[in-house]
Amino acid sequence: MLAMNYRGPLRVRIDHKPMPEILHPQDAIVRVTRSCVCGSDLHLYNGSVPDTRVGMTFGHEFTGVVEQVGEEVEKLKIGDHILVPFNIACGTCVFCQQGLYGNCHESNPQATAVGGIFGYSHTAGGYDGGQAEYVRVPYADVSPTVIPEGMDLDDAVLLTDVVPTGFQAAEMGGIQPGDTVVVFGAGPVGIMAARCAWLFGAGRVIVIDYLDYRLEFARNYAPCEAYDFRSLEDPVVFIKQTTESLGADVCIDAVGAEAAGSAMQTTLGRKLLMQGGSATALHWAINSVKKGGIVSIVGVYGPVDTLVPIGNVVNKGITIRANQASVKRLLPRLIEHVQNGVIDPKALITHRIPLEDVSDAYRIFSAKLDDCIKPVLMPPLART
């Protein structure tokens, strides 16, 4: 089968790989119909996530058709068209029982900090991902969900990560009606977080980024205020000035390790890989939020230490909430939102690219070429 093959930092290609097999009675084999490149895939692509091994296939946002099931799979049937949440969750451990499906304790032997994630290095379990024609899906009865009749596949594929991550970013902010919410990052997740902040009753939503086309998209889609930090002398001062010098009620870091805006953070976190990423957005979030405010983090960072102004967290009495999105927990509500037209995920998709051109897809997305917001890879069988 065709599958994306990681060859080293900034190098990926399409290759023929062996078909995946059922390795556990709760496995399913799925023929992929849509597979996205995620902003967090860029951390792998740039070589900043430890234990990203050459030869691995990335991809944690995908839909597909069930081709084969293990003997303990009862809910899914061959032929079901499913969306597959990016978390691999057993559903039985104490953490899954608390709805912490992103923190499953039975899916990632290599690390205790995070549960298994499809195609996301051995630090997240060593699973090949969905940027391929076929993929092995463990615990097939737990998180994978049959796509509701009539739902557009492009909507479905974004329910595997982008929508729940954006929604949870807003949810973790504990937004109260009338709150001012600042979202750092106008990538797909940041735009979705801004859109979802309104659902929690925000009174004002502000997005900060530096790419004009994304800021314009956020203004129209979320809809919200959106500012280019390069045109602001200091984004923190700007947020203070526009909130009567008190700071925002809630700040959301929707960027993570690839953040621009600080030469020191970029050098240490992205060029020299001396910390778990460039924490510029998080730095701004901590310093822009009001005293006693909440910082919600969904941007992904590497597991090593990262420079953040922790002293200000203490002195301002900030609550930090963070996690990988718990997709299974959120899906019922988010499917309702999509079906009711409250959220329109597929509007984020700007590029449909053949799986065979995966190298170009990564380049376009990582270098923000051609006004790219969200690229979707289309395997050959899904294009016929």
Binding site: V12, Q26, V54, Q98, Q176, V342, D357, I364
Partner: protein
């Protein structure tokens, strides 16, 4: 300073998920203290361990399922085995893994050559897309590198001549 005034209640879906009692919110709100009982849940059947699986020393054993994508191999594998002697809290864990990742890039090239495949680094780096969408930027970047390399070569040649 631009301040876009708007009536949020006119935005579709405004406030539909608002909940004044939503604090403390996820990830705390479903807390059930189940972890106080330790590994008390009925663990799923163990996936047969048919490849080498390194596991964090912060957990007692391999999880019930695991990925088999790319088992540790060669020199990078040696480094990864060393890394897993240390906890996730230790640089002794992460630094050898980062080094192993770089070593495995070289091993990947050697493996390609061994199988008669010369990696097309330009295609792998997506230069086709760059050429299509950012031709001037690509040409500029190539020229800068050519100038820098030429300058370095010229400097080293002149030093050797001295």
């Amino acid at each position: 300073m631009e301040h876009i005034a708007k009536d949020p209640s006119q935005i579709k879906g405004w406030g539909v998920d608002a909940d004044r009692n939503n604090d403390p919110t996820y990830p705390m709100k479903h807390r059930n203290n189940g972890e106080h009982a330790g590994y008390s849940w009925e663990r799923p059947l163990q996936q047969p361990i048919t490849v080498e699986v390194l596991h964090s020393n912060e957990r007692p054993d391999v999880t019930s399922v695991f990925g088999t994508s790319t088992p540790p191999l060669a020199l990078s594998g040696v480094l990864r085995r060393i890394a897993f002697r240390y906890s996730e809290s230790s640089y002794g864990h992460w630094l050898p893994l980062m080094l192993a990742d770089r070593v495995s890039v070289v091993e990947g090239v050697l493996s390609d050559l061994k199988h008669g495949h010369v990696p097309n680094v330009f295609a792998e780096r997506g230069w086709k897309a760059e050429w299509r969408h950012n031709r001037i930027g690509l040409v500029r970047r190539i020229l800068v590198r050519v100038v820098l390399i030429s300058a370095a070569v010229a400097y080293l040649s002149s030093r050797r001549a001295d």
